[in-house]
Symmetry: C2
Subunit: 307 residues, 2 copies
């Protein structure tokens, strides 16, 4: 499971949180230790392996810690049962969050709107229904006629590969564009609304998300296009005052240098491949969560609603 | 030649201007008509074929019209000679322009700077020495220690393919990045200066250039990074008051949908593939030309210096 997360066989903030939780459940199932202490040590080792896979999305740490916190009981069998129950609970809750995000977010979407999204924050990035795509799915289910602009999302092309696949499946019309097309599109009035997902939200409302989100927000601001972030509250890192302390993963240069199997620049060329960037709160019109829509600066108030 | 320009075997504003001029010379050489009028009709037909290849870069129209204007003489042989002379003159002048652009632009570049560029506006986009790359080459020749951030430039990857190749050849250090990385790079202070080329500059200083230039300019503005355009005066369209009338080429959706030979999204997916966008004058610190550096709003004054 750790390998799948690291290599992005599973990706998307909520999905890697759920996958890591399931990874711990697998560890609990596989572990043959009879002593509770040894059993827990084994789980902690698995937890730290899972946590070492990717640094930016906070859901990963949140989910692992939550499952570890549930690892209590008088026998390894009881601990194992509690772990599995907790993982099932996380999965159920997160899907419920997404359905609520869809409901709250769909109030932004009117008939005829063309909505731009970046990367993939749909079912394939979550457990089901997505975060950024949830309001779009909900609006479509409500019968609104909408269309979606899908950023292809270099270097891993999650937009062209995954978001396109999801939208095609549901039947929602979409157009794929290069990530750099936002300026053209918005200057021509082709985008009515932007909704993106999030990998980590700081207490002040700064949002780390897939590389390219921040320039998209700047272009949206320039053209008065409302820019929203959709995320379940598990993506909020209440321990961080601002985005300055969000670790930004740098992935292999080869993801940029090779396109398909082919090396594009001359051999020996170097690339820089930051996987995320940070959009400051001031460029975000609102953050759509399972508790409703929040001004970014108010996002830390959600802490009150959490158990 | 028309086919090569259309299919982007030759690309870059200045290069397609020169190539179209050479295309007319080829037409003049190949044409077997003895009558001056028939000869000229043949040339005009060739000119209109060459002009129909790509709509945005104005150098194409400028060069073709300039060569047509030189198609005078008492015999087809004399007309042919005059055409070839004019084409040779254009090529010589444009290279001189680039050398002057390099000289003027290099005054912006200090030791240790990291300069970002988009697409390819080097030797491979011009005749030699480039426009956006000219100040970089000149600075390197002067012994300044600099490095370059190269936007890969989807969908055709001119940055990763061409700019990287040029810089590698000269020995200038560079890093390739996804087009969407500018926000991350500039927020981390990794870019000191941006220089890009241009495909058409309107009288008010608005600049049409490769798709993605405009978002890059917005990010630069946000972070106080100086944003410059480099172009020879043949790229200025004095007939256009503003960018509103610049035709923006839409290229085949397949350039976005296919990466290498591989279709990325599900079959039947659509893409929008505008090849250029417009950066409004207000986001451009200066335009570097063979006549020196101009504030975008002053660019139409260059008309005075032209014969």
């Amino acid at each position: 499971m750790a390998e799948c997360i690291k290599n992005m066989k599973i990706r998307g903030a909520q999905a890697i949180g759920a996958a890591a939780a399931l990874g711990l459940a697998l560890a609990a199932i596989e572990c043959k230790k009879k002593e509770a202490k040894e059993f827990l040590d084994f789980l902690k080792e698995a937890a730290s392996l899972l946590k070492s896979t990717r640094p930016t999305a906070v859901n990963l740490f949140w989910a692992v810690d939550r499952v570890l916190g549930a690892a209590i009981g008088n026998s390894t069998a009881e601990i194992r049962r509690n772990i599995i129950k907790e993982v099932e609970q996380i999965i159920k809750e997160e899907v419920e969050c997404n359905l609520r995000i869809g409901k709250h977010g769909s109030t932004l979407i009117e008939n005829g709107m063309q909505i731009q999204t970046h990367c993939n924050a749909g079912s394939l990035a979550t457990i089901w229904y997505g975060t950024a795509l949830a309001p779009i799915y909900r609006s479509w289910q409500e019968g609104k006629r909408i269309s979606v602009i899908v950023d292809e999302t270099r270097p891993r092309l999650q937009g062209a590969r995954l978001t396109a696949w999801e939208l095609k499946r549901v039947g929602i019309p979409f157009l794929i564009v290069s990530d750099s097309a936002s300026g053209y599109l918005m200057s021509k009035g082709l985008v009515d609304l932007v909704i993106v997902g999030a990998d980590r939200i700081a207490s002040n409302g700064d949002v780390a998300n897939k590389i390219g989100t921040y320039p998209l927000a700047l272009v949206a601001k320039e053209h008065g296009v409302p820019f929203y972030v959709a995320a379940s509250s598990s993506t909020i890192d209440f321990s961080l005052k601002s985005s300055e302390d969000i670790p930004i993963e740098e992935r292999s240069a080869d993801e940029v240098l090779f396109v398909g199997e082919k090396l594009i620049p001359p051999r020996g060329s170097k690339a820089l491949n930051p996987a995320f960037d940070v959009t400051p709160a001031k460029y975000i019109r609102g953050i759509i969560t399972e508790f409703g829509m929040f001004k970014p600066r108010q996002i830390s108030k959600i802490k009150r609603y959490k158990a």
